[in-house]
């Protein structure tokens, strides 16, 4: 075969096996777009007549991974539903033809194989995977508001049964190479050194292809489908709202209606996926995906390779930051005054490592990298020093004075303060340009966002290095200006205060929380306050109150006085049982509709968001949206606060807000929202 392709390389080896290397032109990672698919179709066409080869092995020519999935930038470029559906049909047809080839076909998978990549692989006769947890197989389409559209929702449940198969489709979860083999999704999982041997073995020996077990096959028949669908739908509803995230519900419905055997199944998949491309959820999630990529790309040209991180303060934040950095491969010294302050952090770290790393030797390596350091030995050796002690200006200043005296001259001095402006801390430094804010959110292991805070004196080099570091620990950096509360807490606090105001007005807390989870927040504001800790809320509110002239709700002060601090003391606004589970009080209707409630809270949040844009706390609206989504879980399918305002009409919302403030008797003039967004 001498024909050449842009994205595929063909090679024949000594055993007359054709190696089909995917090598997307001009990209470091393989993704599938129309052109790739057309070439694949042409290759498939020639393979139909091929009699010289014993079989075909598909592999990646990239250093990193197999196939990341379909090219997401295409998702928002379809003209109409017809075009998107046709594109899916074309892909399905190619894969069906590839699947029907007489030649044995093997996919040799090393690294990620996701979405459209996995769908392509499912059309191969055999799948050979590298066994480690770096190899990830999955169908994460639902995370972008669609479901698989190239036969994935049909082939996967057919191959491994509906329970496991649908679970992967509906959750978007990925599995390691080893688990893939256990599920039957892969024929065999082998260490990298045996990958080529294994792939060739399947071509040369052609063992029987993997079949679903009888039980698994039965799980796709009509009666089973009805029962299983009902069960899965219930489970799904407990987690997500079909109004917000329709895709998994649609996939489930398709499967329930037509199963996995007929052509009808493919057609239904194409039609429903084609339609989902045009849902607001998909459009917004794709936007969020690219916002995320944008943040990932910040400081990607900065060469900065710190090795040793020193964290001062082993409390919840400091301890968890230290553990996270150790998890990501850094040597970390964790300093606190006494062993008893450090011990709980080590315990949490051990649990985190166990959860993330699974294997004993990897857990041990991470534990060895995390060094309790009562003497502060790590300080003079560290490349980055992160202070995470209590929010007290005087204490922070005295600590930074010591840090500056002992640290290496080129070490980055970072504070995890959540609200104190850097320019108040750095007054005691002889080199204030060295101080940067690296502000993590709680819980560190879950919240992807990290605010990188620039004080008036902070040097751009330090900012760039801090951003590069945040990427190295696989978090999303958000550059913000140092002003009280930075971005996320600044916007969040008025929202929380407004919710307490609503409480005072007699709205039941369950109604307030329900209104916001219905809006799409991961948890309601009252629960959020309880979770963060009311003492923390109060101190931030007081701190911000000094700058923004916001009154502190007396209810909050009362609770803190009574030491009812939220989840951690088993009582805050809500009560919690022994296991920390919230005890829901009976809802007493308040006469407010949920929409009214959410409107009021969201408007208050938007007002602050526009203020942040006006004051250049962040560079632009996109970054603000990303910050709120990854820092607070602001309903991602709504695309972020500013995007949401735009979609609803900024001016109309502004007017509503002005009216709302007037009705409350607030005399402060509300600055216009429009002028901020250019």
């Amino acid at each position: 075969m001498t024909q050449s392709y842009k994205h595929w390389q063909l090679e024949t080896d000594n055993d007359q096996i054709l190696w089909l290397y995917f090598d997307k032109q001009g990209a470091s990672v393989n993704t599938i777009n129309r052109e790739v698919m057309e070439e694949f179709a042409a290759i498939t066409e020639t393979l139909k007549q091929d009699v010289t080869h014993k079989g075909v092995i598909i592999a990646s020519a990239k250093k990193n991974g197999f196939i990341a999935g379909a090219d997401i930038s295409q998702f928002t470029q379809f003209k109409d539903i017809e075009e998107s559906t046709d594109a899916l049909r074309m892909g399905q047809k190619v894969l069906n033809e590839f699947e029907a080839l007489k030649l044995p076909t093997v996919a040799m998978i090393d690294g990620f194989c996701l979405g459209g990549g996995l769908e392509l692989v499912l059309a191969c006769r055999y799948r050979v995977v590298e066994e480690s947890s770096k190899t990830r197989l999955g169908l994460p389409e639902v995370k972008l508001g669609i479901h698989p559209g190239w036969g994935g929702t049909v082939r996967l449940p057919r191959l491994i049964g509906s329970l496991q198969g649908l679970n992967m489709v509906l959750s978007g979860h990925t599995v390691s190479g080893k688990i893939a083999a256990k599920l039957g999704l892969a024929d065999v999982a082998v260490p990298k050194r045996q990958l080529v041997h294994a792939a060739k073995y399947y071509i040369l020996n052609q063992p029987p292809v993997h079949q679903a077990t009888t039980l698994q096959s039965l799980s796709n028949n009509k009666i089973a489908r009805q029962l299983i669908a009902q069960f899965l739908r219930k489970k799904l509803r407990a987690k997500i709202n079909p109004l917000h995230y329709p895709a998994p519900f649609d996939a489930l419905e398709n499967w329930e209606a037509v199963g996995v055997q007929s052509n009808e199944a493919y057609e239904r998949e194409a039609k429903s996926c084609g339609r989902l491309f045009f849902s607001e959820t998909c459009q917004n999630l794709v936007r969020v995906f690219f916002l995320q990529e944008k943040m990932k790309g910040l400081a990607k040209d900065i060469s900065f390779s710190p090795k040793h991180i020193h964290v001062i303060g082993a409390g919840t934040m400091g301890g968890d930051i230290a553990a996270w950095c150790a998890l990501r491969g850094f040597t970390v010294t964790l300093q606190d005054l006494e062993a008893r302050y450090i011990a709980p952090a080590i315990k949490r770290a051990a649990a985190l490592f166990k959860d993330k790393l699974k294997e004993r030797h990897l857990i041990q390596q991470a534990m060895d990298r995390l060094i309790p350091d009562i003497q502060g030995n790590g300080l003079p050796k560290a490349d980055i020093i992160i202070e995470a002690v209590i929010e007290d200006l005087a204490i922070k200043q005295s600590i930074f004075k010591q840090i500056e005296a002992k640290a290496k001259p080129d070490a980055i001095l970072a504070t995890n303060t959540s609200s104190i402006p850097l320019d108040e801390i750095n007054t005691i430094l002889s080199h204030p340009e060295r101080l940067v804010g690296i502000h993590f959110f709680n819980p560190v292991a879950k919240m992807q966002l990290v605010e990188v805070v620039k004080g008036a004196h902070t040097s751009q080099t330090i900012i760039d290095q801090a951003i590069a570091f945040v990427r190295q620990i696989d978090r999303l950096p958000l550059p913000v200006k140092s002003s009280p509360g930075f971005l996320v807490n600044r916007i969040l606090m008025p929202y929380l205060l407004e919710s307490v105001e609503l409480l005072n007005e007699g709205v039941p807390m369950t109604a307030i929380d329900k209104a916001m989870t219905d809006f799409g927040m991961p948890m309601g504001p009252i629960t959020l306050a309880d979770t963060v800790g009311l003492d923390v809320c109060l101190s931030v509110a007081k701190y911000l109150g000094r700058y923004f002239d916001t009154p502190i709700p007396t209810k909050l002060e009362e609770l803190v006085e009574k030491k009812q601090l939220g989840r951690k003391t088993k009582e805050g606004f809500y009560k919690y049982d022994k296991r920390g589970k919230q005890i829901k009080p009976q809802i007493i209707s308040s006469g407010h509709s949920l929409e009214e409630i959410s409107n009021r809270l969201v408007l208050r949040m938007l007002n602050e968001a526009f203020a942040c844009l006006r004051e250049n706390v962040v560079a632009n609206a996109d970054l603000l949206d990303a910050g709120m989504i990854f820092g607070t879980g602001f309903a991602p399918f709504r695309g972020g606060p500013i995007h949401y305002a735009k979609s609803q009409g900024i001016h109309a919302l502004y007017e509503q807000f002005v009216k709302q403030q007037k009705a409350k008797g607030d005399k402060l003039e509300v600055k216009d929202w429009d002028e901020a967004v250019v």
Partner: protein, 434 residues
């Protein structure tokens, strides 16, 4: 011209050890390598050079777990010394830690390396239970049996006594050549030197009192805290009994020679988990990395004795050391004699004080001399804080260096008896620079 017996001077830069944790039945929370890594990483963190700048890592260990073959290499890699770091494990029974120091000293002295991490570690609570020989033979025949008939026959041959485990810890502490447990060799010494139960208990009581007092006065700076995955932590040696008394010690029954003996669990060293690591350097390394200096190692001597009186090893090793440098016992400011057994330390003292013994056995004209109790094990010893066999030799050397520094004293000897009938002794000198 160097003042030591080596081609190049060797300095103790710094050292750290884990708290010694008394074995309380069942494996403790840390393996030997865990203990060494905990102490080692803090030790390395204190100094500006990178762990990769070390020349080698030498660790003494007597009873590594099956997962800890060449434990020194595991420790070296876990400490981030890098894959190119040579690391090796030494075993000289109870003096393995001191042997590791001696091996490191030699490598520095001959100019092979300038900076070496050396010490010892043992988690005695992790010593495994083993299948006995009958069980092993039965299993072997079962595994090789062919056909279900033979297999069934094999199963039928099983006998309950096959399940009786071999306690490897006890075997390790028994000398197979003379068929005596270490405790019984101590009984031999008590017999030979007419040591009474009261003398032994008195010595043991003082050991506890001294450790307790040293803890109070924070004289164990060399200890690095240990943290478990469960959120527990250990700051100090946990074998010491603040409330120990002669009455309480007197109540204990003889452990090794049942009924009529006088060596008890109370006047013997404790079975413990622990690690002690030292950073040794040449003059060049001290200068290159601007390292502090704790002490200089002048010499190490080794001697052999009757295995049935293994506790007398220090008598001979110290004799050689003094002879070589033409020193008398009075020239030595402080002593650390590892307290394997109270009887064993008392026997060493008695031997040195005996004209007859020294004439007959040490080729001296008379008694070598008397060690004032105020100069000996001033902060207590293994009876109170434990004797993790691989670590003790390194622990006493490190602690002696601290004692010399604290008292602005000059010379000290750390010496240790060795199961199988040997003794080791190390002469160190308090210096503050190169």
């Amino acid at each position: 011209m160097t003042e030591t017996s080596f081609m190049r001077d060797v300095y103790i830069v710094d050292g750290a050890r884990s708290p010694f944790l008394k074995a309380k039945g069942g494996p403790g929370p840390f393996s030997a390598s865990d203990l060494a890594v905990n102490a080692g990483r803090e030790l390395l963190a204190r100094h500006a050079f990178s762990p990769e700048a070390l020349g080698e890592v030498v660790i003494g260990c007597v009873m590594p777990t099956p997962d800890e073959a060449n434990i020194a290499r595991l420790i070296s890699l876990r400490l981030g010394c890098g894959k190119s770091m040579p690391a090796w494990t030494v075993q000289r029974n109870c003096a393995s830690g001191m042997q590791a120091l001696d091996s490191a000293v030699k490598d520095i002295a001959i100019g092979r390396y300038d900076l070496v991490l050396a010490g010892g570690a043992d988690a005695m609570s992790h010593a495994p239970l083993l299948y006995n020989e009958a069980m092993t033979l039965w299993l072997a025949s079962l595994w090789t049996a062919k056909g279900w008939k033979n297999k069934l026959k094999g199963w039928a041959q099983f006998r309950p006594y096959y399940l009786k485990p071999v306690i490897s810890l006890l075997r390790g502490l028994t000398d197979p050549l003379v068929n005596l447990s270490m405790g019984q060799t101590a009984e031999n010494l008590a017999y030979r030197f007419h040591l009474t139960r009261e003398q032994m208990d008195q010595f043991a009581l003082e050991s506890h009192q001294r450790v307790a007092q040293a803890q109070e006065q924070k004289h164990f700076d060399e200890i690095t805290p240990l943290f478990t995955k469960n959120g527990d932590f250990y700051l100090a040696d946990d074998g010491v009994r603040q409330d120990s008394s002669m009455e309480k010690l007197a109540k204990l029954k003889a452990f090794f020679d049942k009924k009529f003996g006088s060596v008890t669990a109370g006047n013997s060293s404790q079975v413990s988990d622990g690690a002690a690591l030292l950073l040794l350097a040449s003059r060049e390394a001290v200068e290159q990395y601007h390292l502090p200096v704790l002490a200089r190692i002048k010499a190490v001597e080794w001697a052999g004795v009757d295995p049935a009186e293994m506790g007398l090893g220090p008598v001979y090793a110290v004799n050689q050391l003094l002879k070589r440098f033409n020193l008398s016992m009075q020239d030595i400011d402080f002593w650390e004699i590892n307290e394997a057994f109270a009887a064993q330390v008392l026997a060493c003292l008695a031997a040195w004080e005996s004209d007859e013994y020294c004439r007959k056995n040490l080729n001296r004209n008379g008694a070598l001399g008397k060690i004032d109790r105020s100069k000996l094990n001033v902060d207590g010893g293994a009876v109170a804080l434990g004797h993790p066999v691989g670590a003790s030799g390194a622990r006493i050397a490190l602690h002696l260096a601290h004692v010399l520094k604290r008292n602005h004293a000059q010379k000290g000897i750390a010496t240790i008896c060795i199961g199988g009938g040997q003794g080791g002794a190390m002469l160190i000198e308090n210096v503050s620079g190169v």
